[in-house]
Symmetry: C2
Subunit: 257 residues, 2 copies
């Protein structure tokens, strides 16, 4: 169901659940860098997460998927719900008042407008290869771009806190669910997957031990094939064992590195 923006602003709760939003923290990995996708609406200086409302005929997960796709052009992302945020004042922000919002949208809006009520937001995170995606925001966004996780701009509402919670959840999940399939080339070297884990966890691991432990989980397997990267340097290539990988995604496991 496509809802016109004017109808949404005027009669929102007819189409969407009032007081509930979804926000998505989309992490992007590329060659030892971890970034997060943020957008900046017209007329304000602070940045925010891609987020939106839940239509009355969709699940909260479908809402998150639709919002991410509409707002960023990213399709078929693996979205993982991690935490909900609910404090009465979390979406009060002097940067984005009902009056300013009304001005930007050229309409009348009172102080008690449903969009500025107490909102509980359900947080999802995703992990993607950021060099493969071209973010493209919707009409009302001025910018939509990747930011380094260690160097974020000033964020609207409690979105800084949401990003921190998402990162904490991602780092916990990584020890129990496999990652990497969407982030690495089909055939990769042990140093490549080692860098991926080190970057996301912001830790260093002994490389020999890390490789041994990861192989022991069964999610990757060695090929009888090498990559030539220079004189006398030709590391073996690995691929994910998709049967074990998917089973681990389903049931969890414990990676002790």
């Amino acid at each position: 169901m496509k809802i016109e923006i004017k109808d949404l602003i005027q009669d929102g709760p007819k189409y969407v659940l009032p007081n509930i939003s979804v926000d998505s923290v989309i992490f992007g990995y590329h060659e030892k860098e971890l970034k997060v996708l943020l957008q900046r609406p017209q007329g304000i200086s602070k940045w925010m997460l891609p987020g939106g409302y839940v239509h009355r005929d969709e699940t909260i997960k479908q809402a998150a998927e639709r919002v991410v796709k509409n707002r960023t052009g990213l399709d078929r992302l693996f979205l993982n719900q991690f935490q909900s945020f609910g404090t009465p004042t979390r979406t009060k922000d002097s940067e984005l008042t009902p009056a300013l919002f009304a001005e930007i949208n050229q309409m009348e809006l009172d102080e008690n407008h449903w969009m500025f009520d107490y909102f509980v937001s359900i947080g999802f995170y995703s992990l993607t290869e950021f060099s493969k995606v071209v973010p493209s925001g919707e009409f009302y966004l001025e910018e939509c771009t990747w930011w380094n996780i260690g160097d974020l701009p000033s964020l609207l509402y409690d979105h800084q806190e949401i990003i921190e919670a998402a990162l904490k959840a991602l780092r916990l999940h990584i020890y129990h669910y496999p990652i990497g399939y969407e982030l690495l080339p089909e055939k990769f070297t042990l140093p490549e997957i080692h860098s991926l884990y080190e970057t996301i966890l912001d830790k260093t691991f002994d490389s020999r031990n890390f490789g041994k432990k990861l192989i022991a989980t069964g999610i990757i397997k060695k090929l009888d094939e090498r990559r030539n990267i220079g004189a006398h340097r030709a590391p073996f290539l690995y691929v994910f064992d998709m049967e074990n990988y998917n089973q681990a995604l389903e049931n969890g496991y414990a990676l002790f590195v």
Copy 2:
């Protein structure tokens, strides 16, 4: 703020957030048994989790705490948010229709009443020593009691799914956050804490190895004191190191057993 039940039913959204509820999965541990606290409202045969609405002046966590305290008599429980549940039909159940609810409460209620709309529920879980607590439900509850986790009754709505998700979350968290302070006597033996982990995880661990790993985390420390449990049997007693325990609660750790 105390809201009268008649006012709540008639004008709910004036006092509470519409379309949002909190549900709590309260696990109880006692001597190798894991149970969950359930309640059965008057007039229906299915059981449900203690749950309720979010007042407009409280956070979602405060709502969960208030609900658990009011409905069960349990105070100061450690509640851990683990997942939110939102599908359009999750609270449609032929066991509890608007008509039946109206009859029980002796009032008129139409099919589109706010209480029977699409609700997103925010799930919390808690872990407590069930022999220490006497559950006591509110007036409209017929029963409120502990059920064995492996032998649950028929549950209302999606509450079976919520319990399974809570258990999965608890079992993941246990490897990264310390448990036991509320569940064991102040001084305990290694076999006692070993049983606690085995019961919650529904797994067996080599006892020597388990003790060694747990001591290595720093959260427990050996006392120069033993408990006499029979001829020639006097295992050493342990206590939690509260400084390390609280730090691990804050920052997480990895227990590899």
